[in-house]
């Protein structure tokens, strides 16, 4: 037992910080496009909508290894998207934490779009019409009515995506490998420790941390979703 305590030594702490950084950046960057996609799917009908819906949800059902491999093809050294990011934005994904964040973002996207879409569908459009007759243009109506009324659901989606992102393994290890200090997030660190004959205590410590973080995120997500439900009834 003493081997488990203290739970968080410098090594574990560095892994947790890296994981939070990867997930935090992934969710922050995914939130705007996730909201835009959710809004499109909730509010607009256009040719190819079913296809877009399917594409967004693809990472949910495709084996994560395949998603990682596709990311490798697109964003790897020879991938078209990878070259674009390297040349124009100076962002390199290979074996970098940025690549881990990208993999996390793609894997979290469907969950976030789903949660946000439901919350946008829950916004009473009659209230938006009322705002328009009171002199608010489409953007003003969006900012004053649609966004605040869907916000709890949006936050719940973000927390859910964050939790999913913390657990991301298959796409990440396929795309950017398992590099300590760079791409080795909590699940990858647990996997690496499992390979070592003396890694058992490390595995236990990291597993406990993982469960605690995930539990925290789920409770937060549930609390936010409940608040969303409370605001929904309209006089």
């Amino acid at each position: 037992m003493p081997a488990i305590l203290p739970l968080v030594g410098p090594e574990e702490w560095a892994i947790v910080v890296l994981s939070l950084k990867v997930s935090g950046v992934a969710i922050a960057l995914t939130l705007p496009p996730a909201f835009a996609l959710a809004w499109l799917l909730a509010r607009r009908s256009f040719p190819g909508k079913i296809l877009l819906d399917a594409l967004v949800h693809l990472p949910l059902v495709v084996p994560p290894v395949v998603t990682g491999w596709l990311l490798l093809l697109a964003f790897g050294a020879n991938g078209a998207a990878g070259r674009y990011f390297a040349e124009w934005l100076g962002i390199d994904f290979m074996f970098r934490w940025t690549g881990a964040a990208l993999a996390s973002a793609v894997m979290a996207l469907p969950l976030m779009v789903r949660a946000i879409r439901i919350s946008i569908e829950g916004v009473d459009r009659r209230l938006e019409a009322a705002a328009r007759t009171l002199g608010a243009g489409p953007w003003r109506t969006f900012a004053a009515i649609t966004l605040p009324l869907s916000l709890p659901g949006v936050l719940a989606g973000a927390v859910l995506g964050f939790a999913r992102s913390l657990g991301e393994f298959g796409a990440t290890i396929t795309f950017v490998s398992n590099v300590p200090g760079e791409t080795q997030t909590l699940p990858l660190a647990i996997y690496a420790a499992l390979q070592r004959p003396d890694g058992e205590a490390m595995v236990t410590r990291l597993a406990v941390i993982s469960v605690a973080l995930s539990l925290l995120a789920l409770v937060a997500s549930e609390a936010l979703a409940r608040r969303a439900g409370k605001d929904r009834h309209v006089l």
Binding site: D124, L127, A130, R132, T133, G135, A136, L235
Partner: protein
Amino acid sequence: MSFDISVTLVRGKRTIHGHVASPAGLTALVAPSGAGKTSLLDAVAGLLRPAEGHITVGGRTLFDSAAGIDLPPEARRCGYVFQDLRLFPHRTVRDNLLFGWHRARPEHRWIGLDETLAFLGIAHLLERRPDTLSGGEAQRVALGRALLSGPQFLLMDEPLSSLDLARRAEIVPVIARIRDELALPILYVSHDPAEIAGLATTTVRLGLD
């Protein structure tokens, strides 16, 4: 002429013809259930685009399919009191009342918050949330919100239908005062002959042509 409306509305498979030509005052719109009264109000507010026709209120053209005119709702200056009120649940009564007032151009505002509160007797409700209001209170707040947006005319969709007799007796004089003192053209939908007899300057039947 305060309301000069002649439109064809298509709702799903149904086609609704609406014709209104009425002088100043309160124009009551009477029709059997499902004849499209609310659709006609929505069209005047700019929430529903007619297939063809024109909508002119107080000499201002809001819609004219032949001339290609179709003002967006926010430019029509209409105070729409919805049947289901549609108070914003996440905002206080004060913020609901001032929502349209803040959006209106200063020269378009013709009533202030204090005056509205006194007129409707709702000063004590300012900090409340819409879901804590009684039916009569919510009705008056919805009316006040419409007035404060500086409208050129009012649309009222069965504003008394959700109220009991005592509350109705409270609101009817308020509507009469809006009609007489503020001299706003009002397009008013109702089912109740007694209500119409007491309030209407002109009565228009819909769906008979």
